[in-house]
Symmetry: C2
Subunit: 137 residues, 2 copies
Amino acid sequence: MLSQTAEYALRAVLYVAEHGDDRLVQVSEMARVLRIPRNYLSKIVHALVREGVLLSTRGKSGGFRLAVVPDRLYVVQVVAPFGSLGEARHCLLGRPHCSDRAACAAHTRWKNVAERVAEFFRETTIAELLESAATPA
Amino acid sequence: MLSQTAEYALRAVLYVAEHGDDRLVQVSEMARVLRIPRNYLSKIVHALVREGVLLSTRGKSGGFRLAVVPDRLYVVQVVAPFGSLGEARHCLLGRPHCSDRAACAAHTRWKNVAERVAEFFRETTIAELLESAATPA
DNA sequence: ACAAATTATCACCTTATCATGATGAAGACA
DNA sequence: TGTCTTCATCATGATAAGGTGATAATTTGT
């Protein structure tokens, strides 16, 4: 559903949201704890800085923190820069123009499901994900 | 959501289901009409034969037809051989063991959405997709 | 038997994704 | 100032997905 890269990004942002309240979080630490290749993660978080999701500080005792408060940071913002997230609302059969009017075979049945997926990414915040982690079912 | 290959497979099966009632459908025809690279499609439909979704006949006036009646042929059967569709029910954060008990951050929120997706593939038949194509909204 | 048509298969190529290692740039602090 | 730490970046490689072209195998029909 998510590319490896997008999944890394989401896990990194969740980690920063959870551990970065009162300090900066280093790439080395995230890479070690989350078991993500270090330099690869470095590129990913840097991309998130460019996207305005994270803020970075260089030099000794540098690191990353959120650029947006967790309850205003939506999953889509974290995941979209890596691989098309628009794919969720995309036609299942890959047609460039697929709407209610010009419906492909799968369209009507699929669109309800696709809308659920898109909704999840669009409306779920990082804060909400942390909450549900804190209160396991 | 689907790999390119899986999407090709689904479109090919839908084509055979729609046009193969009283004849065999050739790869060349499908490739031309569906705009799918011919030899690549050839490999895909051959895989579907091995999976028991299609039947093939060689030689002059050969071609493909369904091995299963459309209302007993589920989308998952067509799509599963190409890329894991089990990914739909997979943990969003890629954890190997992610259940209600050991829930990752995204688990509880994600699983409802994922189940919808899995359900679509598991419970939708090729016949149903053809029906909804026949009666556009 | 032969030729034509069609699926089956082999060998490769191209591209994107994932990943690694080395180096540059910026800031903190003695 | 110098040095250490950390982010930023570059060049490269590994792997898998997607795609192409040629050839073999099988059946039909004459």
